[in-house]
């Protein structure tokens, strides 16, 4: 059976991983068709800025005009969550891409060559890993000035050391194998041995971790936005919407759930996005597990 067919069958066989695929495909569709689902009002300059309907602070309940209601400052929640899906994919995929590139480069170089180079790179990762992730990210965003770009840079800085570590460990294991020795004996350069022989046999755990991490990165980006250290005010971003809702989590006395829509709806979008990636990551881990019989 070919690899792709095997993967597809494994993915669809397990109901949980099927669920993960459905959730992620759903979000991809939302992101692609955002202009159709939530059309930008005419005369609105930037599609990623949520249109607002007045300046009153009190959230308004769902109505014909605002399907999910409006949040603090009369930002339309429906428009925000739909276009926020694009921001979530943007942050998650860009950060994971850059982190993978840095992690694979440094990790494989450290693992393959060993010695002083390995020591230096690994001690640097040690320093980065001693900082609690979110706090280091917060500090970096504060230094760079709050913006979506700073958030992505901060999350990249926080996330790369664990990838460098993981890939280094796997390369260390693979480099002792006979086929590496054989390829070196045939005169292949170090770069060729790493790229053609060592990496293809060592990269799977890293890819699994990456797919599991996309959700975590979007969650961290939301947390930073929630703290007011993310995109500029009004930018379509789930963390920002929960941040608007911060003062409206509990309604007035006697009706504590009065403003439920302001915090619940963006919260549910974040929840399902992260859940989808986690389920998908679990499925990839199961598929790439070599102990799994290929029947």
């Amino acid at each position: 059976m070919s690899d792709w067919k095997f993967m597809a069958r494994q993915l669809t066989r397990n109901p949980l991983s099927l669920m993960g695929i459905i959730i992620i495909v759903f979000f991809v569709i939302i992101a692609i068709f955002a202009p159709l689902i939530a059309p930008t009002p005419e005369g609105h300059r930037d599609a990623y800025m949520i249109p607002r309907d007045g300046y009153s602070a009190t959230p308004q309940p769902p109505s014909e005009e605002h399907r999910f209601g409006t949040t603090q400052g009369q930002y339309d929640i429906f428009y925000g969550v739909i276009w926020g899906t694009r921001s979530a994919f943007h942050v998650g995929l860009v950060v994971i891409g850059v982190v993978l590139a840095i992690g694979i480069l440094l990790g494989s170089v450290a693992g393959y060559f060993g010695g002083v180079l390995d020591e230096v790179i690994m001690r640097i990762t040690d320093i980065f890993m001693a900082f609690p992730g979110l706090i280091l990210a917060m500090a970096i965003v504060a230094v760079l000035g709050p913006s979506l770009r700073s958030v992505m840079i901060a999350l990249t800085v926080v996330a790369w050391p664990s990838y460098a570590r993981l890939i280094r460990g796997d390369i260390l294991q693979v480099r002792e194998e006979d086929f590496i020795e054989a390829s070196r004996g045939l005169g292949a350069s170090s770069g060729r041995v790493i790229i053609r022989h060592a990496l293809p046999n060592a990269i799977y755990p890293t890819l699994v971790m990456a797919s599991l991490d996309i959700g975590a990165i979007v969650l961290a980006a939301s947390a930073l936005s929630f703290l007011g250290l993310g995109a500029p005010e009004g930018y379509a971003d789930w963390g920002q919407l929960t941040s608007f809702a911060r003062n409206w989590i509990v309604g007035p006395p006697g009706n504590p759930l009065k403003y439920w829509y302001a915090v619940t709806i963006p919260g549910l979008f974040i929840l399902f996005f992260v859940l989808g990636w986690n389920l998908l990551g679990d499925a990839f881990r199961d598929i790439l597990d070599p102990r799994l019989a290929r029947r």
Partner: protein, 83 residues
């Protein structure tokens, strides 16, 4: 017992992350709230101080975790080679 101690060390770091969010939501004026205020007002020295403080705390907790191993399991010896 040893894995439990190891994980509780890491949990400590995770909780240090959570303290910022929790104290912000509930306006509990602890170190997390202070760090958030500093970050929002771009008081960079305070944010860096908070980050460094937490990193130091994490290193300290890991030291305690290592020492606890010897308490839990007498076979564990710190300090390298067997005499």
């Amino acid at each position: 017992m040893i894995p439990v101690i190891t994980v509780s060390g890491y949990l400590f770091a995770a909780l240090a992350n959570g303290v910022v969010i929790t104290e912000t939501i509930f306006t509990y004026k602890g170190i997390g709230w202070w760090a958030w205020q500093a970050a929002v007002n771009l008081d960079i020295a305070s944010v860096l101080g908070f980050a460094l403080f937490n990193a130091g705390l994490f290193v300290l907790v890991n030291l305690v975790v290592d020492i606890l191993y010897t308490r839990v399991d007498p076979r564990v010896r710190l300090g390298g080679a067997i005499q």
